[in-house]
């Protein structure tokens, strides 16, 4: 049996670069997994591989930082609040509509 198990690379979510000589494909692979990485949902060996890649690839490092910032901004996005008058008026309109149906 030959050890032609390179096909295992096809769907494996990890990255397989060891040195700085990574291909663009690895960056694209990383891009697919960035949210899972940010949300801490990946197994530790894949996280390690990603960190290694980030250390060697400034583009991906900046990319992931900006995606992380996007998530942070969304989390802190301010939302307006209702006034008590609006709350009361809306309740009345809902109850009127219930009566009308």
């Amino acid at each position: 049996m030959t050890k032609k198990k390179t096909a295992a690379r096809k769907k494996r979510p990890g990255l397989s670069s060891h040195h700085h000589t990574h291909s663009e494909g690895q960056c694209v692979d990383l891009l697919r997994q960035l949210s899972a990485y940010i949300d801490d949902e990946l197994p530790s060996d894949i996280c390690r591989e990603i960190r290694r890649h980030l250390g060697a690839c400034p583009n991906c490092e900046v990319f992931i930082a900006s995606l992380q910032q996007t998530v942070t901004l969304c989390r802190h996005r301010p939302a307006p609040e209702l006034t008590s008058v609006e709350r009361t008026n809306m309740r009345r309109m809902i109850l009127d509509a219930v009566g009308a149906r």
Partner: protein, 206 residues
Amino acid sequence: MRAVASKKPPQRHARQELEGFDRLYRDHVDLIYRYAHRLCGETEAAKDLVQETFLNAYQGLKDFRGESKISTWLYTIASRACIRMRRKRKGEPEHELSLEEFVPTSEGEFRLQIPMDGLSPEEALQNKELREALDQAINKLPKKYRMALALHDMEGLSAKEVGTIMGVNERAIKSRLHRARLFVRRELSARGITQHDNQKSGGSRS
């Protein structure tokens, strides 16, 4: 012979129903308004959505069995109502986001940045331009992506809960969420907002 179905006098029944509704409304209207505003992006449409949600909730309250959290139930009603209302208004087809469109094609695209160096998110969002860019980016998202982003990243629900609300599996939610984030990132980065603008609009509020 007349039907013997009435167990409670109708007036008492109606009063109980109203009390139940009032409790539900009082405890959750702010939550649903916040969510509605995140989905609609503006006040009047958000209020319409809140009213539609609670109207449906009033009618469904007697059948609510408590199989999910009451907030999950309300989020679900609001999400469905939002889809119905938008369809009625625009009839726009749902645009799909593919991952390929987010693959940077130049080094510059990889390195687009969001101007929040050294700032807390609250401070960064004082920048009116950044805040507006964020609102616009989110409003431009097709609604199923916007919903996933609003429920997960803004309302803080788990992917599983978001899946229950949107009626799809967790995997689909994670995929939508990822695309939504990439979309917003690209929109924000592409605006070229600078730190300089930040100081300008942070200091003097117009």
